[in-house]
């Protein structure tokens, strides 16, 4: 018979329809509205997992997010590892299998769509049980913007499938009415299947909305599978309910052992019998009421145990009316299993009494309720132990946060409704008459819950008392932790791993704390819970990534000439977000040969490079000169219009930060350039000083990086090419000398031409408005000029000993260390100047820039290789410095490098060893300028 444990009626499943799913290779039937766990129970599947270390069989234990056992691998649809069966809605075609510990990630990419969204509201209510609904309703009727989020498919919380009445009607009618009223209000948003997973600073909460998973294979591809909500809430009402906790005893992990309210929930919410003959064991009234629910659903009650001994109350009478007598002062002392490992009997006993064996297929256990204080705790609240509740409840209030209902330890329905309504009203900052909560016929309590963690001979059987089912952690592990001297719940958690699994110890975390307190002889509150951290339930990386993956991970910046580089077959390099041509291989060329050819073109004839990515900042105002004098180590106020100067910038600590060429375009107008990767940082730096220290300086700074496209025209033939492209421009050395700038028309395009050089060759940098970049590139290329990429640029600049800030410097290098002392003025003040005379920055043995020539001219040293005096010295070997730039030089016909070395050029001519991957290469220390030291080529 299909679904042998399905009740004939009851439950919120759609009995008119049947879906088929597979579990561990067997096909089963279920109804829409089932979760995988209810569907498995309906089909009598008891074993849904195995202990990761013990291999012991495990069954469905809970009914919601607290579930420790039933994590499955889903193989249908996009597939997913470790999905909680208690919240996985069954769909037609679902394929899942049981796990023993970890799941597996699929190798294929998940092409589902994941989205992110942002929202603001006046009041966010988390949880749509009775308290949450009452809060949302009270807030919403004031006109407040309200978001109500609940992780289940529909609102109702514990009222779902329950038999409570409100205002004389079934409670679910009130739920439906309230939901409908909320949905009709324009400023209210009800999010179902939405788990609020994190509470961050400033009432910023993150929620996961599962939009199409429940549709299974019929999910439309154009709808995002999940959506990540970022909600900024004015005030927050936490109506997150509570998690049931078990009582532990030897062999407490067998399939068939389940939380009592979960067992009752399966019977009434899903119409599934969690067993046919049950023992119920508890330490509070709720366990007894669960027994009533079970017997009313048709479960035979073999025994109902209460560790407490109480006078008869309402619940006892209700049970007696059903022919059940509560065994007071009794607990479970052990369990038996059949050949498959599934529960077959329970051993019960009064304290110190004789044990009695009771055959059964269900043991429903409940040690009490732990308020779900996770979000309250994440918000900065500290849960405190309450003797009255025998649970950790919210302690001091957190500003603008309300905890209501079971989450606050308020388990009575009438009280929870009143508390929720009051909080919603207050959170909406409403005045006037508050709406009344619906009337309930509350049950009267019988007695206070007992803080009962363990029953039975747990000391003798400590290795079969499981404190964490998913981690297979036992009471013996906790005892060993205490034996090793641990007294903190945080340490015990890490030592035993109890509470570290995917379920985060929701069922037994507090129990472990209680056991620890007992072992230490401390009050439970003195031990305290471990810290609750986000996320409340796991979030997939796919959702966190959203659409920010692949090409959308990071913006890609392309210059206006990009398509020409692509057409030329350039290999690209990422420089920050920029795509820059690395080299332009011709057929048959590798990097080395292409760079060799490109270098030759630049040194021997004429070459061109796209330098549009260079950071460019326009500075305007009467005080720009004075300002630049303060931020650069050298002087710029004396620069004449039409002149350029290389400048070095330091941070206040005197360390080189950036460098570049700045031109004076007009008396009150400068054009500053920065390293490609530093453009934004330099602009920030300039604005910081202008705004915070020197607001009296009349200077404005604007990024113009993207407004200008630029081509470097390099090599002995560059003047001739420029003269052809700009016939009206006098390019003679006398009229257009090194370090000057001219406005000109180049190839018919209005241009600003800088005569500057980052290669040591005669060279010009032609800047044009960005939209002319492509036309300029084409015009220069048409003159027969060889394009070169960043690799060639690096070889050429390193041959000249030109540093790259961030490559040859690392924030610990002063201008003097970098060999740029000539650019440091002593006649004016600049940022960082005072630091350059500190004892430390004035040390003679600081690491300074040098050149290196490997003894083997074919060896190109690894950048980052450490330099040592004696390669065979015993460790630790003193390290003198490291290689910062290393290339093969076409001009030198050999390899060479730049390095930072303690003592710098005082070691000129000495041999060191560059150590890389266990090999020590002898190198000779040289001057860092390897090519045309006099600068004759550049100045020609």
């Amino acid at each position: 018979m299909s679904q042998p444990f399905r009740r004939v009626d009851g439950g919120r499943v759609d009995r008119g329809r049947t879906v088929t799913f597979q579990f561990d290779g067997t096909a089963y039937e279920a109804h829409p509205g089932d979760t995988l766990s209810s569907a498995l129970l309906a089909n009598g599947v008891r074993i849904v997992a195995r202990g990761p270390y013990t291999g012991r069989p495990r069954g469905v234990y809970g009914i919601a997010a607290e579930e420790p056992n039933a994590f499955v691998q889903v193989d249908s649809g996009p597939g997913e590892p470790m999905v909680r069966a208690t919240t996985l809605e069954v769909y037609d075609g679902l394929v899942a299998r049981s796990l023993a510990g970890k799941g597996e990630l699929r190798a294929e990419p998940d092409d589902s769509r994941y989205d992110k969204t942002w929202a603001h509201c006046d009041v966010l209510v988390v949880g749509a049980g009775p308290a949450g609904l009452a809060a949302a309703h009270a807030a919403a009727v004031t006109g407040a913007r309200v978001i109500l989020a609940d992780e289940r498919p529909s609102p109702g919380g514990d009222l779902l499938g329950g038999r409570a009445h409100l205002d004389g009607r079934p409670a679910m009618d009130w739920v439906a009415d309230t939901h409908a009223r909320l949905a009709a209000l324009p400023e209210v948003r009800v999010l179902t299947r939405t788990t609020v997973t994190g509470f961050y600073d400033g009432n910023f909460l993150v929620a996961v909305q599962r939009r199409t998973e429940h549709l299974g294979l019929a999910a439309p591809a154009h709808v995002a599978r999940q959506r990540l909500w970022h909600i900024r809430a004015g005030r927050v009402v936490l109506a997150t309910g509570a998690h049931e906790r078990p009582i532990l005893f030897p062999d407490n992990d067998r399939p068939g052992i389940m939380l009592a309210a979960a067992a009752a929930g399966y019977a009434w919410r899903y119409g599934v019998l969690p067993g046919r003959r049950a023992v119920v064991a508890g330490a509070h009234d709720g366990a007894l009421w669960a027994a009533v629910e079970l017997v009313d659903a048709g479960v035979e009650l073999a025994a109902v145990l209460d560790v407490r001994s109480l006078p008869e109350g309402q619940v006892h009478r209700a049970l007696r009316d059903r022919g059940v007598v509560v065994s007071a002062g009794h607990g479970v002392v052990g369990t038996d299993a059949d050949a498959s490992g599934v529960l077959s009997a329970v051993w019960i006993a009064r304290t110190d009494g004789e044990a009695r064996r009771i055959p059964c297929d269900l043991l429903a256990t409940s040690g009490g309720w732990n308020p779900a204080v996770h979000l309250y705790s994440q918000a900065g609240g500290r849960p405190v132990w309450s003797l009255d509740h025998a649970a950790f409840v919210p302690g001091d209030p957190v500003p603008s946060v309300w905890c209501v209902g079971a989450a606050a330890g308020t388990f009575d329905l009438a009280d929870a409704l009143a508390e929720g309504g009051e909080a919603g009203w207050q959170a909406a900052a409403a005045t006037g008459e508050e709406p009344l909560p619906p009337a309930t016929d509350s049950v009267s309590g019988t007695g206070a819950p007992a803080a009962c963690w363990l029953t039975g001979p747990v000391d003798e059987r400590a290795d079969s008392v499981f404190v964490d089912l998913q981690r297979d952690a036992t009471l013996r592990d906790v005892r060993r932790a205490v034996g090793a001297g641990m007294v903190s719940s945080e340490h015990v958690k890490r030592f035993t791993t109890a509470g570290t699994a995917a379920d985060q110890g929701r069922t037994t975390g507090v129990t472990t704390v209680g056991i620890l307190a007992g072992l230490l002889g401390l009050p439970v509150g003195a031990v305290g819970t471990t810290t609750y951290r986000p996320p409340y339930t796991p979030i997939s990386f796919g959702l966190l990534a959203g659409r920010d993956r692949g090409r959308l991970l990071d913006p890609e910046r392309r210059t206006p000439m990009h398509e020409r580089h692509e057409a030329a077959g350039a290999v690209f390099e990422d420089v920050g977000q920029w795509k820059r041509p690395w080299y332009y291989p011709r057929p048959g060329e590798d990097l080395h040969r292409a760079v060799e050819r490109e270098c030759r073109a630049a040194r021997e004839s004429v070459a061109m490079m796209d330098v549009s990515t260079l950071g460019k900042i326009e500075l305007r105002g009467p005080d720009v000169g004075e300002f630049l004098d303060r931020v650069y180590t050298n002087r710029f106020s004396t620069l004449r219009v039409g002149q350029c100067r290389y400048g070095v910038m330091c941070l206040a600590d005197g360390m080189l930060f950036d460098d570049g060429v700045t031109a004076r375009i007009a008396p009150d107008h400068y054009h500053l350039t920065t390293t490609t990767g530093n453009a934004a940082k330099v602009l920030d730096w300039l604005e910081e000083w202008l705004q915070t220290e020197w607001p009296s300086l009349r200077v404005s700074a604007t990024s113009v990086t993207d407004q200008w496209a630029a081509v470097a025209l390099v090599g002995p033939g560059s003047r001739e090419v420029l003269s052809r492209l700009a016939p009206a421009l006098d390019v003679s050395a006398a009229a257009f000398p090194f370090l000057t700038v001219r406005d000109a028309t180049v190839a018919g395009i209005p241009a600003r031409v800088f005569r500057i050089s980052f290669t040591g060759e005669l060279s010009y940098e032609i800047n044009v408005p960005a939209w002319y970049g492509l036309a300029l590139w084409d015009a220069v290329a048409a003159a027969g000029v060889t394009p070169y990429g960043t690799e060639t640029m690096h070889v050429l600049r390193a041959e000249k000993g030109f540093i790259v800030a961030g490559q040859d410097t690392d924030g610990t290098v002063t201008p003097h260390d970098a060999g740029l002392g000539w650019a440091v003025s002593t006649a004016k003040h600049f940022i960082g100047q005072r630091s350059l005379t500190r004892t430390d920055t004035a040390r003679a043995d600081r690491k300074r820039l040098v050149g290196l020539l490997p003894a083997d001219p074919l060896v190109v040293l690894a950048e980052g290789a450490q330099l040592v005096v004696d390669a065979d010295a015993p460790t630790p070997v003193p390290m003198l410095g490291h290689v910062t730039s290393s290339y093969h030089s076409a001009a030198l016909g050999r390899s060479f490098a730049l390095a930072l070395v303690a003592g710098g050029l005082t070691h000129r001519g000495e041999t060191f060893y560059a150590v890389d991957s266990g090999r020590a290469h002898p190198v000779v220390v040289t001057d860092p300028v390897f090519y045309d030291a006099e600068g004759a080529r550049r100045d020609g």
Binding site: D201, E688, S835
Partner: protein, 82 residues
């Protein structure tokens, strides 16, 4: 995610800003006259109180203005912007 009260743009998400450290640490009028220790005090030694703290923020992805706020380093509450 802090909600930083920009005096020009109103409250905005923290990710739009750059943190600027302690406020009211004035750049010395004449650094050259300071001893190494005094200069190091300016450069490296900043307060780190438990409680209210005057600090600087820069609205990098917004109005690009620097401003001061007073924030509580335990509760992360901001005082009203000045």
């Amino acid at each position: 995610m802090l909600s930083v009260p920009c005096p020009w743009c109103g409250p905005r998400d923290e990710t739009e800003f750059r943190y600027g450290g302690q406020a009211h640490v004035a750049y010395p009028d004449d650094p050259a006259t300071l001893s190494d220790a005094e200069w190091a005090e300016y450069l490296f030694m900043h307060d780190n109180p438990k409680g209210w703290f005057a600090e600087r923020w820069f609205h990098t992805a917004g109005c690009r203005r620097w401003f001061d706020v007073v924030r509580h380093t335990v509760t992360y509450a901001f005082e009203a912007p000045r």
